[in-house]
């Protein structure tokens, strides 16, 4: 390959494809890629030796071993993409001819595409658009060695013309079901809830506006927002730091779960008392979580296949949710859940670490004794939370070993996780069975008003306590401290500086937040629309959108519109290529062409390569009686075509009139020689 310009374009294309991955790749792979790119710079390449085969083989082996050490597997998205990039780097050092360069360019499209496995933001998509122009320009640079500017311009034109076709395909192309199920690994980077509550987990989620699930309430009957506690998991094991799900064999029992379309187990009869006539029907469209638990309002039941009601009144799916899952739920109003608490369950929900947090334990025992019964004790503690200087913030100060004590009596700054955790501790220490529940709280009506949307930022933790006769009741200490969190939702909470914490950094963050408030709102809104309309454009949304657009669900009609619009665009492009062929003909020349056509029947058409004036003079010789018309035609033609100052319009009209009133043809006698 001897063209320096193409080489630079090739390297630029690779750099653009590679950049989105830099953050995620192991440092040594970034290093390898940089070295390879620098090595192939034309200026450097000439001074360095070529890598020979043993060196390449050695590099390959070293790379595979390093990848294995970094990821422990060679499959899965992250390891796979790293391997792909490593292969590109190796291919780069042995690239010599045009063929290798084309392979590399195609691979750079692929590398760019794989970045969508990890990030689907609007930003990365816009960036990919830019990278596409660069890679396409690199393709062009291999086919014209004129200028880089021309290559970039051609690439831009090509892509702009492809854009409308792409949009039509995107909207109309039927979304097919997956060909096979892909199991993403734990490290797939999916934001969502884990099966335990470690410090900081929920705060991290609160910063993501990604959609968790959508809800469609039947007849649009949405319960008050403050009552929308979407239960996910109950956590009853506490080690002083992390809350985990119960490991009791009872709760884990498959037979204990009330699976849909199967006979209900015994406990559902005795432990759930519901008001028969109060039911709310809704449908949840859950984004993939890679977990098997589902979200629902208490007390739920679903008759959809593969869904079960667990002993702690949650819904679970028989398999992890790797694809978007839609399930129908009925919400019953409970009179009492677990009116008689079995002993094993009581033990489970009274468990506390053997040591630590002595102040809290002591306070719980004293207060319980003082207030006499459970309910008054609970009210007193919640009241204490409200009255004392507790703050809701996403940036709480770090806590030590006695987390509950330190939080309750020293820092008093935290968010739902801290409140739920310490409140449950206080309840258990006072002998009241209690557990932490994690899930989502609230949500927001979609802008179109047709569904209810719950986002990751709505992640929440709250408490369930068991009282005799009443059974399990829902308590939310966060609501006591920051009622607006529950009533208005998380996005409103973010307007408040205290939420952001009071370190210097937080103040700055808040300042930026306010300063860029308007901008951020726009960006948020765009991001939100992006998530909903582009990333979330699935089979259901497509169905809905096309129904709105075409007013019909028939497949043939959709395909007709799809192919029809594709054909129209292709025809426009074809017309463009054909019309581009046409040379612009001067209107004066058009008249001559017309004349020539008229006379062609008499064999007097203009010959190929014959000048206009020469043609008119030839006509004059062959048909002397046309002399007058021809002279004035020639005069006008010369005036329009060759003279600077003249009145085009008048002359053109004159020519047109001459053509209309052209004298008759007369056969000429052949001259006697």
């Amino acid at each position: 390959m001897n063209n320096v310009m193409s080489r630079y374009w090739l390297l630029a294309a690779l750099v653009f494809a590679f950049i989105p991955h830099v953050e995620r790749l192991p440092w040594w792979l970034n290093g390898v890629m940089c070295v390879m790119l620098l090595w192939r710079l034309p200026a450097i390449e000439q001074r360095l030796p070529r890598a020979n085969n043993p060196v390449k083989a050695l590099l390959l082996v070293a790379g595979i071993v390093s990848l294995k050490n970094t990821y422990h597997v060679l499959f899965g998205p992250e390891a796979g993409v790293s391997f792909l990039i490593f292969c590109v780097a190796l291919k780069l050092i042995e690239t010599n001819d045009e063929r290798d360069s084309y392979v590399l360019l195609t691979l750079s499209f692929f590398v760019l595409a794989t970045s969508f496995l990890f990030s689907k933001s609007l930003f990365i998509t816009l960036y990919a658009g830019l990278a596409l122009v660069v890679i396409t320009a690199a393709y062009v640079s291999f086919n014209q060695q004129i200028s880089s500017k021309h290559a970039a311009k051609t690439a831009f034109i090509l892509l702009s013309q492809a854009l409308p076709l792409m949009l039509i395909l995107f909207v109309f192309f039927p979304r097919l079901p997956p060909l096979w199920t892909l199991k993403m690994t734990e490290s797939s980077g999916r934001t969502g809830m884990s099966d335990n509550m470690s410090p900081g987990d929920l705060a991290k989620l609160s910063q993501s506006s990604e959609l968790a699930f959508r809800v469609e309430f039947k007849d649009n009957k949405v319960p008050p927002k403050a009552l929308l506690y979407w239960r996910g998991l109950t956590l009853s094991r506490f080690d002083g730091k992390t809350w985990r799900t119960s490991n009791s064999p009872w709760l884990d029992d498959y037979a204990l779960t009330a699976w849909s379309q199967r006979p209900l187990p015994q406990w559902t009869e005795t432990q759930i008392r519901i008001k028969e006539n109060v039911q709310i029907h809704y449908k949840i469209i859950l984004e993939p979580t890679d977990k098997s638990w589902l979200y629902a309002l208490s007390v739920p039941y679903s008759n959809d296949n593969g869904i079960g009601l667990t002993r702690d009144f949650r819904l679970i799916n028989s398999t992890p949710v790797f694809q978007r899952l839609t399930y129908n739920v009925v919400k019953f109003d409970a009179i009492a859940l677990d009116p008689d608490l079995p002993d094993w369950l009581r033990q489970e929900n009274l468990q506390l670490p053997a040591i630590g947090n002595l102040t809290a334990r002591k306070m719980a025992r004293q207060w319980r004794t003082f207030y006499g019964n459970d309910e008054q004790y609970i009210t007193a503690v919640l009241h204490w939370f409200t009255k004392s200087q507790f703050y809701y913030t996403l940036e709480p100060p770090p806590l030590g070993n006695n987390r509950v004590d330190e939080f309750l009596f020293q820092t008093r700054r935290g968010f739902c996780e801290h409140y739920a955790s310490s409140f449950t501790f206080l309840l258990r220490a006072a002998g009241i069975p209690a557990r932490v529940v994690i899930g989502y709280q609230g949500g927001a009506l979609s802008p179109t008003g047709d569904s209810w949307q719950v986002r990751q930022m709505d992640a929440h933790a709250w408490v369930e306590a068991w009282l005799p006769q009443k059974g399990w009741i829902t308590l939310d200490p966060t609501a006591a401290i920051a009622p607006e969190r529950i009533e208005r939702g998380m996005s409103d909470m973010a307007q408040n500086q205290e939420v952001w914490g009071d370190s210097a950094l937080s103040v700055m963050k808040y300042g930026n937040y306010k300063l860029l408030g308007q901008l951020r709102n726009i960006a948020d809104y765009m991001n939100y629309r992006w998530q909903r309309d582009v990333l979330g454009y699935d089979a259901d949304n497509q169905e809905e959108f096309l129904l709105k657009l075409l007013g019909d669900t028939q497949l043939w009609k959709r395909l007709a519109v799809l192919f029809g619009s594709l054909v129209v665009i292709a025809a426009l492009l074809a017309a463009w290529t054909i019309l581009k062929d046409r040379r612009k003909i001067h209107p004066a020349d058009k008249i001559i062409v017309k004349l020539s056509k008229q006379l062609s029947a008499r064999g007097l058409s203009r010959q190929q390569g014959e000048g206009v004036i020469a043609y008119l003079q030839r006509l004059q010789q062959q048909q002397p009686q046309w002399d007058k018309s021809l002279s004035s035609l020639q005069e006008s033609y010369s005036a329009v075509r060759y003279q600077e100052s003249h009145n085009d319009v008048v002359e053109m009209k004159k020519m047109a009139r001459l053509l209309r009133t052209w004298p008759r043809y007369q056969p000429q006698k052949t001259k006697e020689l």
Binding site: T106, T136, F170, L179, A574, R583
Partner: protein, 323 residues
């Protein structure tokens, strides 16, 4: 001939006939959709594989961005069809001429490429019977000469000229096969020979020959003296009469001994005779010796010079050739 070969020949024949109907032999042609074919290159094939894998990944991960990229690149491929086609369509090819050659050497075929639509064309590839030329940029009329190796004496009509382009992305190739009405004359291959193949016993003819050359035998006439003329030729008589300094000129008839005669070779086949004659024609022209050429059906009178050489070689080239 095996069955397979028969089928191959059958289809090759049909294909050639179809091509002949579609793009007949021509001297001047403007490429249009009837004459341009288009298909994926191997790079385009590789790209299609990429698209397929993106599509499957997009469906399986339910990833709309992957699907979108797949659609975008697919659309790019479709748009490129038009651009690649447009980079050949509208191109005008005119035959210009040929340069003759000796059999086994390369003969030049010159064509003119022009853009009557004033459009720019990039990276045109001309492939013609083993010869190739790349035209990286064309924005006005230009000529291209391709040198094709000739096989045998006679008229050389080359196979179809392939003009192709993979501009702008290299993913698609548009091409055309033109049967250009161009024929080069291929002279017989030169073979050196020792004996001048002069016609023998033709002196009688020489007596009556109209062709004469400077010689010493027969008095021809007088002309004014030029410096350097031999003194022996000065006509002293005329000088004495006071008629100025004149010289006598002499001439001699061109005899058969300077005629290259096809019949002079004994016991040789046609091609060998022609090859040797070819060599002699070139040799005598180099030595600036006038000669005539006698072929069984044709006699070329005595002359010398480049034009004479061409006439003679052409006669040799076309001698008993089925046209």
């Amino acid at each position: 001939m095996t069955f397979q070969q028969r089928i191959k020949v059958f289809y090759a024949g049909r294909w050639q006939r179809w091509l002949k109907r579609r793009i007949p032999r021509t001297q001047d042609i403007v490429l249009n959709q009837r004459r341009v074919f288009i298909f994926l290159t191997s790079y385009g094939g590789f790209m299609s594989l990429l698209l397929l894998s993106l599509f499957i990944a997009g469906i399986n991960y339910a990833n709309n961005l992957l699907l979108g990229l797949c659609f975008f690149l697919g659309s790019l491929l479709v748009v490129t069809i038009h651009h690649t086609f447009a980079n050949l369509s509208g191109l005008r090819i005119t035959v210009v001429g040929t340069q003759p050659a000796f059999a086994g050497d390369v003969a030049g075929f010159t064509i003119r490429l022009s853009n009557p639509n004033n459009r720019r064309y990039y990276s045109l590839q001309l492939d013609w019977d083993g010869a190739a030329e790349k035209i990286s940029f064309l924005d006005c009329s230009r000529e291209a000469t391709l040198y094709l190796r000739s096989q045998q004496r006679g008229l050389f009509h080359p196979p179809r000229l392939k003009i192709s382009t993979i501009y702008p992305l290299g993913l698609l190739r548009a091409w055309t096969w033109l049967d250009l009405d161009l024929t080069a004359i291929i002279y017989p291959k030169q073979i050196a020979s020792d004996v001048l193949p002069a016609g023998d016993g033709d002196n009688d003819d020489a007596e009556y020959s109209q062709q004469r050359r400077h010689g010493i035998d027969d008095f021809e006439g007088l002309r004014t003296f030029n410096a350097g003329d031999p003194l022996a030729h000065v006509s002293w008589k005329h000088l004495a009469r006071g008629q100025g300094l004149l010289v006598k000129t002499y001439s001699e008839p061109v005899t058969g001994s300077n005629a290259l005669d096809y019949q002079a070779f004994v016991g040789m086949d046609k091609e060998n005779r022609l090859s040797r004659l070819s060599w002699w024609v070139v040799k005598l022209t180099q030595q600036q010796q006038p000669f005539a050429l006698k072929l069984p059906n044709q006699t070329i009178a005595v002359a010398t010079g480049q034009h004479h050489q061409e006439v003679c070689l052409t006669a040799l080239a076309l001698f008993e050739v089925d046209v």
